[in-house]
């Protein structure tokens, strides 16, 4: 059963000629327990869409059903109650600057009417869960970006929500911290069973943790489906632009087999290509790359053309698959 079901949702800002159609006829469903990604370029309407899931933005038309309940028709009081089960984390963390880490986590519990002692106990549990048990007395200004987001995650989980909405939660973080926050989200999804909705403009984020993804472009859903399907065979222009490094046009590529590899913080990519040549005696063709080398670790994606010889291609593929911290997908041709 879907935990979030959106049907024919439209959001228009303003009226008349100055009206901006931020979202048009959006339908999607998020299954309980999954990590669902919504990706798009800036201005695509992602943030508006995620805010329609807890009614921080009211849709102009359409229905939003959360956990079996149509939330657009709720009273303010009922809506506030529902919001305790749909938490949200933000790009800029949005912690209370005048409260300690511990008191930030107590905040939603205070709102829900918990006793102080119970709230503190619960907050300490959560600090431990996000690995910050020794920083409970620190104020946000004394924490790093990654630590602030961990506090925000702990705060969001305090009331045992069913859904965690992440609005560009890693966009303000460096790649190493991004990876650690993403693996925390994945871990929380698996251990607590909380459904996670991830809004991002980075394909690497989707690739790292999402099972399904919707691509948003100009306020409409361009395509949606399982992440591996979209990655191996993006059907739309925006899909290709997001999936392939530098937006390479796949139909202009050579007829050989093409693979897309993603580096998730393992060793640098140069040794991989070199060792492919040395260990396997296979030369691959780099068709496109968007990689960054941070503290000796590789992040990003690369599009490789495999040799036409099927044997060599298979050897190369096996070799790459055996590497840690690298994911590989074969790209289907688009003719």
């Amino acid at each position: 059963m879907p935990i979030i079901q959106i049907e024919h949702l439209t959001k228009t800002f303003g009226t008349g000629e100055s009206a901006v159609h931020a979202l048009e006829d959006i339908s999607l469903s998020v299954e309980a327990g999954e990590i669902f990604g919504i990706i798009g370029l800036s201005g695509a309407g992602k943030s508006t869409l995620v805010r329609c899931m807890n009614l921080l933005e009211r849709p102009t038309a359409g229905s939003v059903v959360v956990d079996g309940q149509e939330i657009t028709s709720l009273s303010n009081k009922e809506l506030r109650k529902v919001r305790q089960s749909i938490s949200m984390i933000f790009q800029s963390f949005n912690l209370l600057m005048q409260r300690t880490a511990l008191d930030n986590i107590c905040f939603p519990l205070e709102l829900a009417g918990w006793k102080r002692a119970d709230a503190v106990t619960r907050a300490r549990e959560l600090l431990k869960l996000v690995g910050l048990e020794d920083r409970e007395g620190a104020y946000p200004a004394q924490l790093s970006g990654g630590q602030k987001q961990r506090v925000a995650i702990a705060r969001a989980l305090a009331t045992n929500p069913k859904v965690l909405l992440c609005d560009e939660a890693t966009s303000a973080l460096d790649p190493t911290t991004t990876v650690s926050i993403l693996s925390l989200l994945k871990e929380l999804n698996q251990t607590l069973g909380v459904t996670v909705v991830v809004i991002t403009h980075q394909m690497s984020v989707i690739e790292e943790i999402c099972s399904r993804v919707a691509i948003l472009d100009g306020g409409v859903i361009a395509e949606q489906g399982r992440v591996e399907d979209i990655f191996s065979n993006p059907r739309t222009e925006i899909g290709r632009q997001l999936v392939y490094p530098g937006g390479v046009r796949i139909d202009k590529l050579p007829p050989s087999r093409v693979i897309r590899i993603a580096f998730n913080g393992g060793s640098s990519y140069e040794p991989l290509i070199a060792s492919l040549a040395i260990d396997c005696g296979v030369k691959v063709n780099i068709l496109g790359a968007d990689t960054r080398n941070i503290e000796g670790k590789a992040f990003g994606t690369m599009l490789l053309g495999l040799p036409e010889n099927a044997d060599e291609a298979a050897r190369a593929l096996n070799y790459i698959r055996s590497q840690p911290n690298i994911t590989v997908e074969e790209v289907e041709s688009h003719d």
Binding site: R80, R83, N94, L96, P140, A141
Partner: protein, 226 residues
Amino acid sequence: MTEAITAFWNQYGELLIDGTADTFVMVIVSTIFAYLLGLPLGVLLNITQPHGIWPHKWLNRILGWIVNVGRSLPFIILMIAIMDFTKLIVGTKIGVKGAIVPLVVSAAPFIARMVETSLAEVDAGVVEAAQSMGASVPQIVWKVYLPEAKPSLILGASISIITILAYTAIAGAVGAGGLGDLAIRYGYQRKVPSMMWVTVILIIVIVQVIQSIFSWLSTKVDKRLR
């Protein structure tokens, strides 16, 4: 020199002590009542805005209009204009008691604007986060706006108190008592320049002390500073 100071103190010392005490009473009592009115008014001005957490177009306009009227009247005119109202509230038009009513009426709108501005400095993202957790309007005011704006509210209070202090000196012109009254009666009307200078210096010292205390306090409570 020492003799001159002793002679001055013997003649005016008691007046100065009483005047300072009157000034303190007027400033403290007026500030308390002005905040009791101005703080909620400032909060309402902020939250009833079109993009506030409790949008009420007409309420916002009416409150804004009242505050603007209150702020556009010069204090000395307001004080005279509301004398009958003052008598109704405290039973007298003059003296320390008679000054407190116009001081409150004049300072409250000023404080409302100061509070409104302080709350506007609170990060909209933090307010949104509170809303996303299901916080009600009063909860956001008490648990987000006021605590997060605390350092700014404290700085605003120093400006408000010093403004009220300046008004008490003006009130002195119509027999309110206090240091302003001494400066006018002795320094100006009875031509005792030393009295004028002493009261001026006392007022300067009081302003400096208030400003220093509140600036220190604002920095001390602000957890954004490491």
